[in-house]
Amino acid sequence: MNEEKQQSAPVQILSRGYEKVFFENWPMWLGGLLIGVMSIITFAWARPWGVAGGLRNWGDWFFATIGIYSHKPLSPWISTNSVLTLGLLWGAFSSALMSKQFALRPAPGLELLKGIIGGILMGTGAAMAGGCNVGGFYSAMSALSASGIAMMIGLIMGAYIGLRYLYWELEHFPPGAAGGGEKGEKSFDWLRVQPYIGALALLGAIVFAWAYSNMALTRVGVLLLCGVAFGIIIQRTRFCFVRGFRDPFMTGEGEVPRAIAISLIVSILGFAALKWTGLRGEQVYVPQAFWFGALVGGIIFGIGMVIAGGCGSGSVWRAGEGQIKLILAVIFFSLSTSLVKAGIKGSEALSKLMGHRVFLPDFLSYKWTLILLIALLLVYYLLATWNEDTDKFTVEI
């Protein structure tokens, strides 16, 4: 404490800022707002935010390396899908270190199995819907596609089914405790050095972006930094899309649904501007999944995310924080989504079944599309808030 008093003014300001960013709780709505802003910035630089595409690239790369696929995918170092997801993992990992929250957290056997099964279900659902809760829902709805709405309905249904399963499991297989997170004697205080490693990791991301830029891959470098920004925002707010669909049924809380609604309204307005003005292609991030792929994929994804305890973005940031269950979920997500996507691409009948690209302004005009989507999100916002007081949707154990 004495040392602090002797610090010079700039150092004090910096350390106050550090405390504020990495130790104080960020409100959930701020997380939503910042994700909305980052979503627009990311699209303005290069392309919309996505997570599952990166995981698929890693799965494709793995299967190509062991000789199961004949074609090599785009290198994970160049693929914008991969770099965005790598950035998310990188940002969450650095942020967890900076806030002294990184620890390899083991879990009981049943929990690990749920991570694996949840990961496989999410990978399958994301392949069908043309993306996870980010690419298939968040960015797809921002991109004014109809399948974003279909996936939202699917996610709500899937979250309800998944929660019913968790209730059933709690009755029949009450989870055992795995014991303390960290055991054994500590030779040195690992928590104390975490922030320094975190700061080095963040600096490393900037150096990487610099290097990309020098190789004339500036957009890839910027996307890496955008991913890192998403990772920090999401880790610090513990922003969880699962909660947006699960909480109204589980605890009746409406904080996350409100934050998602705010976030999406911001993001939709930005995407509409970029597309209407012709700065970005209208068909970008309009998945070929309306309605079957988005709805049914959304249901399967919704069940998986509740069982795993993390969605596309949520599993990745929790993996970055060292949770073994979610590390398994991410690995099995990437393998299954790669295989299922390859299966769908390889079959004309399956591709057809998934559905069409539906860009809403083609049918409704931009004006009515915006009115429809914003009204839909306001209904979601209001229903979640109304449920907070009445518990009409809340399921008792």
């Binding site: 929250q101 009981p108 405790a177 795995a178 014991g179 303390g180 960290e182 305890g309 979610l326």
Partner: protein, 79 residues
């Protein structure tokens, strides 16, 4: 102070991640009487935010938390 609290029940959720600690709490509270105190042990960093919010929503009183090596003790007074 949290140190003076004698819980009526203790729920060990160490090693479990979101949402299992909250679900187990929700189930345990259903079986407890009004005014009783529940102690929750959790190693999931999210529980520190989630449990007070859950208590507030349900009208239970969140009494505070105590950091231990690798986990947190959290205390809740049932409505």
């Amino acid at each position: 102070m949290v140190d003076d609290i004698t819980p009526d029940e203790t729920l060990d959720c160490r090693g479990l991640s979101c949402p299992m600690p909250i679900l187990k709490t929700k189930k345990a509270i259903g079986k407890m009487k009004s005014g009783q105190i529940l102690e929750v042990l959790s190693s999931d960093p999210g529980t520190k935010n989630d449990l007070p919010a859950f208590a507030k929503k349900g009208g239970h009183e969140f009494l505070g938390l105590k950091e231990e090596q690798g986990f947190t003790r959290l205390y809740l007074k049932v409505k």
